[in-house]
Each structure stands twice: as structure tokens, then as C-alpha cells.
Amino acid sequence: MTALRAMLGRELRLALRGGGDVLTLVLFFIITGAIVAFAVGPDSVLLARIAPGMVWVAAFLAMLLGLDRLFRPDHEDGALILLRQAELPLSAAIAAKVMVHWLVSALPLILASPLLALQLAMDGETFWRMVASLLVGTPALAAFGAVGAAVTVSIRGGGLIAPILIAPLSIPVLIFGVGSITASQSSAALLFLAALSLMAVSLAPFAAALAISSAED
């Protein structure tokens, strides 16, 4: 337990001391909203129509940005080899990483989402549904991202492959995420999203650990 706490603490410190990563993410998220709003023009009906989708696309793309930093630094300075020999199981270490990844790359987006809602002329009720759907759905994105990053970590310079691998896998998250904002049966979609997140979060650390421990050096 203390080992897991130590892992969480280390990851958080590394992520936060690293500096601008979080800010880049948030800025990217907001810029995406601004650009789309600009492209569509001042048609608030249309904007509101596309808003749920755009929020999810922006969130998905923003979460891709931090992916390469999940395992690569540890791979390159030899820490990943040592983690494979730690008392703490590798999958637990990865679970901690996924959690911190979510904390530093999804949570800031959710906190910044009011700005996006404003840009995309979202009404109050939709806004709250969006917050709920992001809260419930982004863990799945983080988990899939971890699998993608783990699979590509031993590829030198393979930064772009991970997004390609996980984008098709993330489509259900996107569909249910958008569905839980717009659809008439939004609560059903939200439930599904929750189930998906739960499954992804509970399985991904093991898959990622398997991928990492079957990579040589």
C-alpha cells in the first residue's frame, strides 16, 4: 500500500514539476474549441448541435498529447527495468501511472470545460451532462492510452503509433460519451460509459504490464 502511494506520489511530482504539460493540454483543448467556433461562425444553434461531439474530440485529442510521456522517460533512463523487479507488481505501478495520467490530463480538461461550453454556446443542462460524461468516460480513454503507450514504448521514436492504435479502440467511448450528452436515453449511455470505463481501467494495467514485461530491455 505504501508502495502504491509512493508510486502515485512520484508520478504526480514528476508530472507537476515537469511544468507546462498540463497547461499545454488545457490550451490545446480550449484552442480547439475556439477554432471550431470560429470555423462554424456565429450560428449558435449549429454550435450547440456540434458542441457535445467537439468536446469529446477535443478531450480525446488532448489526451493523446501526454501519452508519450507515460512510459518513455522511464524506459529511457532504465527505471522501467527496475520497476519490473520491484516488490510492487508492475500492473499496480501501471495502474498508478494511469491514475496520475488521468489526474493531470483529464481532470484539467474537465475543469477547463466551462470555457469550452461558453465558446460553443452550450446551455446549462447540457453543460452538466457534459461534465458527467467526461468524468465517467475519460478514465477509459486514459486506460486505452496506457495500453497503446505500453505497446509502443520499446519502439524508438514511435510516438505517433500509439494514437493510431488506440483511436479505433476508443471509438465506443466517444460514441457513448457523445450519446450521453445528446441522446434522449442519455442515462443509459452514461451507464454504458461507466461500464466501459470500469472494464478498461481494470483490465488495461494488466495488458500494459504484459506488453512491457514481454519487451526486452
Binding site: 502511494r5 512520484r10 511530482r13 514539476r17 533512463d77 532504465g78 527496475l82 520497476l83 523487479q85 530491455d217
Partner: protein, 211 residues
């Protein structure tokens, strides 16, 4: 650290072990046994597969043929070895103490106290410093301190003395000697001369001469 023989008596035995990278055999058909309190030095020119052999024993690289085993461990016990490779796994953004503390927690703080371990490797006063500021030798010392904060019977050291000064060479010898005293095992790949006080504890395995 005060009592000798803290480890159960283990033996590392390799029979017919062939290691290699990318399907290419580097060290063929090795057989050796390392008894408790023994240190095996791996020697050989650059590129003969010392690092590869250590990685194989650490379970990172799959052996091409043959087997090896740490006899005497009960299967319940967690990882039994420390690997200390070319790269130091030091995070520049964390302080020296945070770096070490992390590994102590993650591996189980069964060994020395953080501060003691830092003092032991000569970093006692740098605990609060950002690890990114450490010199090459200081980073190496920090990596060595990791071996001290968690007791594990088998040490796999890859050029432990790299970047260390004369005092650092002594430090490595001292640490190794103490580890063997406690009934530990060690394999060390090195180009520098390492001489333990008791030469009977050291054996040398010269890996094939190439290029």
C-alpha cells in the same frame, strides 16, 4: 546489517546457458554456480555480452538455450535480485532523497534507512538537492544507494565503478564485501580491477574474446 548471514542460503546455478540478442548467440553454453557469499566477476572485451548475460539473469532477456535458477528461494518470496545497469534511473526532477525514497518504498524498505544509505555512498549532504544537478559519479552513487535500502540476496552489477573516483572504487568494494558477509550473492561485470579483501570469495568468468 549488524548481523551476518541475513539471507537464506541461496545458490545461483546456470547450466548450459546461452544468451544473445536478436537471435544471435553471444555467450554460448555457460555453466556456473555462485554460492552464498560468493562474487562472480564477468570480464571480457567490449561487446562480448556481459550486459546481455546480466539482463538474462535478471529475467529481462530470454535465454536462447539452457536454464538458470536461484536455488533455495521459496516460490512465495518476491523478487530476489537487484539489477544495477548502465543507466542510473535517476529522475532529474526529484530530489536525491525523493529518488531514493521512491525505490525504497517500491522495493520494500527492508534495508538501511534512506539517510544512512545516502551517507554510506557519500551523498549524505546532498539529500535535498535536485538529482538533475548530480555529477556523473554522484548519480552512480545514488544508484548504488538503491541496493542498500532494500535487502535482496542477489546483486547483478553492470560496471558498478563507472564514473566513480578512487574513493568510489573503495566504496563499491566495501559494499560488495559487506553484502557477501551477509550471505549475499553478486555478479559484477567490470573493466576496472575489483579486489575484495578476501580473494577466495571472488571468481572470474572471462567471456569469449571477440573482434
Amino acid at each position: 546489517m549488524t548481523d551476518r548471514q541475513v539471507f537464506p542460503p541461496l545458490t545461483l546455478r546456470a547450466t548450459g546457458l546461452s544468451c544473445g540478442r536478436g537471435g544471435m548467440t553471444l555467450t554460448a553454453d555457460l555453466s556456473f554456480a555462485v554460492a552464498p557469499g560468493q562474487c562472480l566477476l564477468l570480464r571480457g572485451p567490449n561487446g562480448t555480452g556481459k550486459t546481455t548475460l546480466l539482463l538474462t539473469l535478471a529475467g529481462i532477456v530470454t535465454p536462447l538455450a539452457g536454464t538458470f535458477e536461484l536455488e533455495g528461494t521459496d516460490s512465495e518470496a518476491g523478487p530476489q535480485l537487484h539489477y544495477c545497469g548502465h543507466r542510473n534511473a535517476v529522475k532529474p526532477r526529484l530530489s536525491v532523497r525523493e529518488n531514493l525514497d521512491f525505490w525504497a518504498q517500491v522495493n520494500g524498505p527492508t534495508g538501511l534507512d534512506i539517510q544512512e544509505a545516502l551517507a554510506e555512498v557519500g551523498l549524505g549532504e546532498l539529500g535535498g538537492l535536485d538529482a538533475g544537478y548530480l555529477s556523473a559519479g554522484q548519480s552512480r552513487r545514488l544508484a548504488l544507494a538503491r541496493l542498500l535500502v532494500t535487502h535482496r540476496p542477489l546483486w547483478l552489477l553492470d560496471e558498478p565503478t563507472a564514473a566513480l573516483d578512487a574513493e568510489g572504487h573503495e566504496l563499491v568494494t566495501r559494499l560488495l564485501d559487506r553484502h557477501l558477509d551477509m550471505g549475499g550473492l553478486a555478479l559484477a561485470a567490470t573493466h576496472d580491477p575489483i579486489t575484495l579483501p578476501d580473494p577466495g570469495r571472488m571468481e572470474t568468468l572471462a567471456l569469449g574474446v571477440r573482434t
